[in-house]
Symmetry: C2
Subunit: 362 residues, 2 copies
Amino acid sequence: MICELDRLLLERTYELGARGIGNTSPNPPVGALVARGGCILGEGFHHYAGEAHAEVNALAAAGDARGATLYVSLEPCKHIGQTPPCTQAVREAGIARVVIGALDPTKHGGGADELRREGITVEVADDASARELIEVFAHTIESDRAFVALKMAMSLDGYVTSRPGVAEWITSEEERLFVRELRVACDAVMVGAGTVRVDDPQLTVRPPAQRLRQFQRIVVCERDAVPPDRRIFAEVPGYGRTIILAPGGSRARFRGLEAVADVIYVGTQEQELDLAHALRMLRARGIYSVLCEGGPTLAARLIVLGLVDRFYWAIAPLLLRSEAAVPVLAGVELNGGPRRVQFDRIERIGADALLYGRFLDV
Amino acid sequence: MICELDRLLLERTYELGARGIGNTSPNPPVGALVARGGCILGEGFHHYAGEAHAEVNALAAAGDARGATLYVSLEPCKHIGQTPPCTQAVREAGIARVVIGALDPTKHGGGADELRREGITVEVADDASARELIEVFAHTIESDRAFVALKMAMSLDGYVTSRPGVAEWITSEEERLFVRELRVACDAVMVGAGTVRVDDPQLTVRPPAQRLRQFQRIVVCERDAVPPDRRIFAEVPGYGRTIILAPGGSRARFRGLEAVADVIYVGTQEQELDLAHALRMLRARGIYSVLCEGGPTLAARLIVLGLVDRFYWAIAPLLLRSEAAVPVLAGVELNGGPRRVQFDRIERIGADALLYGRFLDV
């Protein structure tokens, strides 16, 4: 039985877990706390891959935890990795009961059953918030490519800008702060070549995020190279060299960029970038999650290829309709009729509307 | 001083007032109740123009109201119209205190000051919900044309249909039920000629709404006539003949429709419909509020001309992007750069997102 107090304390573990977002990759962010008789004895979260797990930090903070309940956002592990198994730490601490937010999605699972066999009471809430916290991690287990979150912003009538080649901020300050949070939560931020040519973004966050290592910056060149004098290639303290994804058959055209960027050639013969292949290469380099910030061509291609795992779609309070206006998706047709979408959340953010969701049928 | 109980009872008057929506035009919907010591003695609302006002109905239901408080969504009137002034009824009933949701927006105002002079305590909440209830009425006072609410529905990428000439339901059942509510609340429902040609809607509600008189149905023909065999021209029990708004200089082209519809010729020489003039003519015929259900051309024209007073913009969970897809606004350019919009409310409705708001800069 999970009571109201249990739910409250579980919610707290999600807050704690979220503090690790951006640093734990490829591990998931996890939060934990130890409580007895309604009092929190100690709290902890997973800081960095290779360091102590959340449960171990919470138990250390609690001191004497005999007979207490451990609340943890994700099922404790039973495997020996870079640190000893958490099930062992739980048992040794004399914990009587464990309340879990979400089960471990890995093939061999976590240690819930093992704890039960030890006579410890185990409850599993299977909360949506707990699953959201490990969404990228769960994807990492099932897929061999980087997780892709797509961030778009359009006017109420469906355009990103009033004419091609014009950089315009159409969303509110609050929405841009939200994008900053999204960037900081991912291993990398990605834009298309068109965005680099037109908007010329730096793709950093100011002030720099409290991360052990800043997110990487990626430019997707589906065909042609971009000018090397763009701001994204300028050195910024704390940030690594920008990555360029280029088609492997076009090395000559990208040679000039090798001085300012880390050019990854995808495939060998291709004149056009194989996006799925590129995302697999990113994952192989330790980039497990990517925030794609458009533009319309790259977004449409990713959607058509079924490579978007989650979207954040902002609607700015203005109309941009004109013959020259650039629609939010461009360049490719969505073959096979309408593509279904699911809205997970609908919110106001500043003066804008923000729709969270995912594409179905992919 | 307005206390929490006052606010609760005022909210109740808005609920009561809303029961009259669709029947009170050109009067506003108004709700009222009489309470003493936290007990509601009687409730009432304004049913139909020409019949008793909400205050009078509430006082009648209350019986002995001496020393009681009257709660009313709109400031009581002081004028002699089709019924005696409400201030007189309030005074005669021995009401000690009056709590008002919104002030009367008419030029000479309502009876709040008059009541104060009689020694009655008067409090004014000036609530957004109270003002929303009289939005059409307030517009009616300030403007000489019908109030226009615009209802649009588009895909997440900004299209109303995947190709021209195709009628598709893109929104959810819940969203369509909501549109039914909107239709019932207005004096008339209006569509463009393109919608009649392609979607061929009947524009009725099933089951028929509990209204004294059904809303009218209007087809806007900006230039060309529509075929007379469309469903909107078929007789439906309870509904009047459909109105056609036609340019006054094109009588010959519309003559054939006079057998099936009530054709209003706007102006005398014009080959193209003057929409502002048409809305003035509607108001002169007693149509004070119109729900425009698109399509893209009529919507864009109304927006460009500054003739939309409120919008309901549904976003359906699908993508329709293709070269043939029809954008949500079409046919005209929004001159003078981006047009600003304000979102008043952002909600989920079924599987869709629904944005309520108004266009600024007009």
